[in-house]
């Protein structure tokens, strides 16, 4: 009877290939992992810190102080006009 599992095994073993980038797009489903468990060394976190520099994932300071940028420049001109008229 144990040979009966073959048909079931196949789709499982194909999973890793299905995860390759070309099919990444637009699958809403969170797929089952092909393996049950993995050690800390194989995690995303470990690979991030293994590169030496701790991964810089998030920008906390993004406030725009660039007065030369178009939007700011125009806003500045506009506010000057307000100043002059009041």
């Amino acid at each position: 009877m144990s040979n009966s599992t073959q048909s079931n095994d196949k789709p499982e073993s194909q999973q890793p290939q299905q995860q390759k980038p070309p099919v990444l797009e637009e699958d809403d489903e969170f797929e089952d992992f092909p393996v049950e468990d993995w050690p800390q060394e194989e995690t995303e976190q470990a690979s991030g810190s293994a590169n030496g520099t701790s991964a810089h994932l998030w920008e906390e300071s993004w406030d725009d102080d660039d007065a030369a940028e178009d939007f700011s420049k125009q806003l500045k001109e506009e506010l000057k006009k307000v100043e002059a008229s009041s």
Binding site: N8, P21, E44, W58, W62, Q74
Partner: protein, 616 residues
Amino acid sequence: MATPVLDRFLSGIDNLVKSRDGAKLQDFLQIEPPLSDVYQQMVAELRQRYPEGSPAEADLLRRCEALVPRTKGSSSWTAFPTFMKQYFTFLRDVNVENLLETYDRLKGLLNQCVLALGDSQFGVIVLPTVLYLSKVLAKLAMGLDRRPDLIAQILKLEGRSDQDDNIEKVTLVEKSANVVREAFIKCLTDRSGTPGIHGKPEGKRVGIYLMANLCLKLLFQCGKLRNAEQMFASISAQSPPLKYFPASQRVTYLYYLGRYLFSNNLFYPAQIALQSAYDQCHRQALSQKRIILIYLIPCNIIMGRFPSSQLLQRPESEGLADKFLPICRLIIRGDYIAFREHLALDSPANEWFAQKGILLALRNRCEILVWRALARKVFIHGGFHGEPQAQARGPPPFLYLHKFESATRWLQSQHSQPLNGTINFASTGHSPDAQAGSNPTGSQLVHKLPDHDFAGVDEIDAPDPSLLSKFADFLSPDTYFDATGHSHPNSPGTLIETTHLLDYRQYELNPYADAKPSPMMRELEAILASLLTQGLMRGYLTHKNPRFAIPGARLRGALPTGFPNVWLTISGRESDDDHVPGWVQPPTQTIGLPGGGGGGGGRVVNLSGARPVGVQ
């Protein structure tokens, strides 16, 4: 009529039950086509020897009953033989051409298996089988869910009405979730070993997160997230710590938990759960990492933390920069009209976000950050930044709000002129929000469709006949009461005379009534007040001669004081409580006072629960 294959199969099952080999048992109990030849042979034997509806079926049940170990004194495991018989009849009768019928049979089979799981002594043997059947059922239900046409067709053949069809369609996945939840509860409430936070995944408890994850998958699929709340509460109360479970279960669970928290607007704990899911994910699991990022990124954006280029260049982030960077740029720029347009109902960007279930959160939560950026820029270019000498005791830095209003009107004018030329506003040139400044009523900042319930109220003085007939009982009742409370008759069809009603304007109590701010100014003040309340701006507003003032800015400067860092503000406020509801952590190492229990020397004593002497 010999049944050699069935005999062999039953004796195999018998051995597996005796040796309590749940994994192998599941391996034996195949149900998904294509079944191998041995199973085909067994099905043929079943059809011949135990045909549907024949008295021989009772014999089949008796043979299954022989599988259960009979122990003196304890009740035998009756649910298992019933399950086995149901398994055989499932194989014998199932018609996979009829998916809906297959679904019903499979659900019945799983139900019975869950009953078998409930046994305190033997239940754990069928845990892998419960998981297997749940997965097949989930797959089938979700497959059917994607094909409403098929369900409608089948139901029509069965002669059920359209209304039933609708009910059936939405509940198929949910029904499966309910069965899976039963299995989850059986796992969670296993009484053997140590339960709760001090326990380890043993016995049926090994299945807690396997079943929970499957149930959550189904609940997300059918949009019944609310039903997950009780699950998370039960897990918090009864589950061993998550860290003792395998990585795949941890990551999957934290992903669903994070999404659940996200959809409940609990962005900070959601961010912790999702970040941890991402960190613990296998580095090669690109598809999973990507899906986690789709929720982790907006979660951070909402709290004022944008994805770095480093993050967006990773293979799992492919294409995500195109989705999220425009939003970040619009927030930084401070152009609220362009921001609203970008995520408006008819925008091209809208659909992807809606499909992922993050559109409304982004639209509703990020706009305040856009306003903050605009206020900040107006202050930079139009505000009073304080006396040049730090010692001078001048007024604090401030911004006249009429400049903020002018900037807003200018922004609206920019968007109402197509092909402006000098600036690329990425505007279609007919943004409804850009016209809001000239709205006769309602918001001066954003466009809102008039409420249908109030349509036509302005014409009450000369109502059109349809309005009059529709609201006759209100506009022309038989009798009415005047201002002094006296009843008056009214002839049919005549409007109630209202001109003699008192004019209360002379009794105005508002001290600012004389110099009324423009409606737009009122809205802008409300927005700034909201920013101040949330701590995203610091200072105060004056209403008369409207200003935003930034006191205490000598040391650090007006800009950092008045417009503190968004992420630091939010995370500083939220990190007081790092507890993520639904995520069971190992108990903190609390030990008695040194010398109390002995052996406590050198270890950290947690006194957070200690009270000062003499306090009740």
